[in-house]
Amino acid sequence: MEVPRYWRLKNQRYALVGEVCPHCDGKIFPPRDVCPHCGQDAKTKFTFSGKGEVYSFTTISDAPAGYEENAPYTVALVKLQEGPVVTAQLTDLGEEPVKIGMPVEMVTRKIRTDEGDRGIIVYGYKFRPVMHQ
């Protein structure tokens, strides 16, 4: 990944840092500085809890270049507790089959390594099933 882009996206990818709109209280991820709900300025940082549920999921067998190492892997639409939906891989999947509605929580994991062992390691959010209490 290009270095400037890496740095721009770092907080989002490592810690799910988005924005909250000071006018309508809408939670925004990824951050975009203008609220998509009410249209006003929204630059207040907001760190999401990382809790959410599986909205849908798919297991990708034909992986694009850079992602083959992990294939087949499961990608999900995760609806965060606070509202926004994100696209992320699911990880630490045990025997229990993935289901729509399954509660998940965010973890920071390696997404891919660019250009073999010498390239930038791209870390980011993945989600794992919440352990039952």
Partner: protein
């Protein structure tokens, strides 16, 4: 403002053109279209192409293709909207001719995928999604379709194989299309045995990516020569609607609102109702998208689009024929060119020259191509006048 008509059509067979470059593919299609209407001199060329800069390492096709198709000096620009690039190019051509500023225009869709390997192509295709937030986590366009298909199947209780009718119909219609990539019918057994691409999307659910180029010569109706010997086909409706690029940014990821709004506006502009449509060249890049396109247009209730395919409702003799010459699944999916192939095929139907794949008495056709999961929707309505 006068009527905009399609005066000439041309296409290259969809497939793997190892020996033909991006520029040559486009030129061939343009020459073929112009051959139908040699007396009209195009003043502009509108190009639909999505991946040229990344696969072929070639940008600024406006200048290159104008020169390469012996139209040196004309206005030339490229419209890029992922899989809707072809429809977007036609939209621009339509606006130019309708406005009166351009009298004759060429619209060409061209795509070359065979210049790179599959894994690299998949990576490049990911950039037609949200690069930062969908591609980086490892999602692919087939993955997006998988997410949509799983939701749909669970929500509407669709059994395994519920979408098989779409690829089966597409292949049956391509058998007599000399420009189609795959011209063999497929069976339900073949569908059931197909390997997974992105569970639950299997190989038969996903249209094959290929090289292709298709072109139109569009003009004002009063510019057609006296001896013009084809039925006159008018573009009566045209628009583009966008939605969030990322599937996850949708207000409701289950609804493809842009597709519905686009059809509504097209019908209103053309002064038509749904019942007037004789055939629908919709976006079947993935079988679930075809079902949703039918629902969004209003041909089926939400959750029932897949049943139309089961009951023969989409066949050439059905209630609403789709993919009449193979669609993206069997004719092939040359991404940025697909939108123009759809229009070329619709014109063949309206002219009555679709041979064994002819829809009887076809007079009004709807064409619609999508960028991604209806993130960009370009719809056109064509009618015989």
């Amino acid at each position: 403002m006068s009527d905009v008509v399609i005066a000439g059509i041309g296409q290259v067979p969809v497939g793997e053109h190892w020996n033909t470059s991006l520029r040559s593919l486009a030129a061939q299609a343009i020459f073929a279209a112009r051959k139908e209407i040699p007396d009209l001199e195009p003043e502009s060329i509108y190009i639909g192409n999505s991946l040229g800069s990344m696969v072929s390492h070639q940008s600024n096709l406006g200048s290159l293709l104008a020169d390469w198709s012996n139209l040196l000096g004309v206005e030339g620009t490229t419209a890029e909207a992922g899989g809707a690039s072809g429809g977007a190019a036609l939209r621009l051509g339509y606006l130019a001719v309708k406005s009166g500023f351009v009298k004759v225009a060429v619209v060409v869709g061209v795509e070359k995928v065979s210049d790179t390997n599959t894994r690299n192509l998949d990576r490049i295709l990911s950039y037609t999604m949200d690069a930062d937030h969908e591609a980086v986590p490892g999602l692919t366009p087939a993955g997006q379709a998988g997410l949509v298909m799983r939701r749909y199947m669970e929500k509407y209780n669709v059994p395994q194989g519920g979408f098989a009718g779409f690829p089966i119909n597409a292949h049956a219609n391509a058998v007599y299309n000399p420009n189609a990539m795959y011209r063999k019918a497929i069976s339900r057994e073949a569908y059931d045995k197909a390997g997974m691409v992105s569970d639950p999307v299997n190989l038969m659910d996903a249209a094959p990516l290929a090289d292709g180029a298709a072109a139109l010569v569009i003009t004002r109706s009063d510019m057609l020569p006296k001896n013009y010997n084809h039925p006159v086909i008018r573009i009566s409706g045209a628009n583009i609607v966008t939605d969030t690029l990322a599937l996850h940014d949708r207000a409701n990821p289950d609804e493809f609102r842009a597709a519905a709004i686009s059809v509504e506006r097209t019908l209103t502009m053309a002064g038509k109702i749904l019942e007037d449509i004789d055939l629908f060249e919709l976006d079947d890049a993935y079988s679930v998208y075809a079902a949703i396109a039918l629902e969004a247009a209003g041909f089926a209730e939400p959750g029932k689009g897949w049943q139309l395919a089961q009951e023969g409702g989409i066949s050439l003799k059905g209630k609403i024929p789709i993919c009449t010459l193979g669609g993206s699944k069997a004719r092939g999916n040359p991404i940025g060119a697909t939108g123009v192939y759809q229009v070329v095929e619709a014109v063949q139907q309206l002219r009555g020259s679709a041979g064994a794949s002819q829809v009887k008495d076809a007079r009004i056709a709807l064409t619609q191509c999508w960028g991604g999961p209806a993130s960009t929707v370009a719809t056109h309505l064509l009618e015989m006048v």
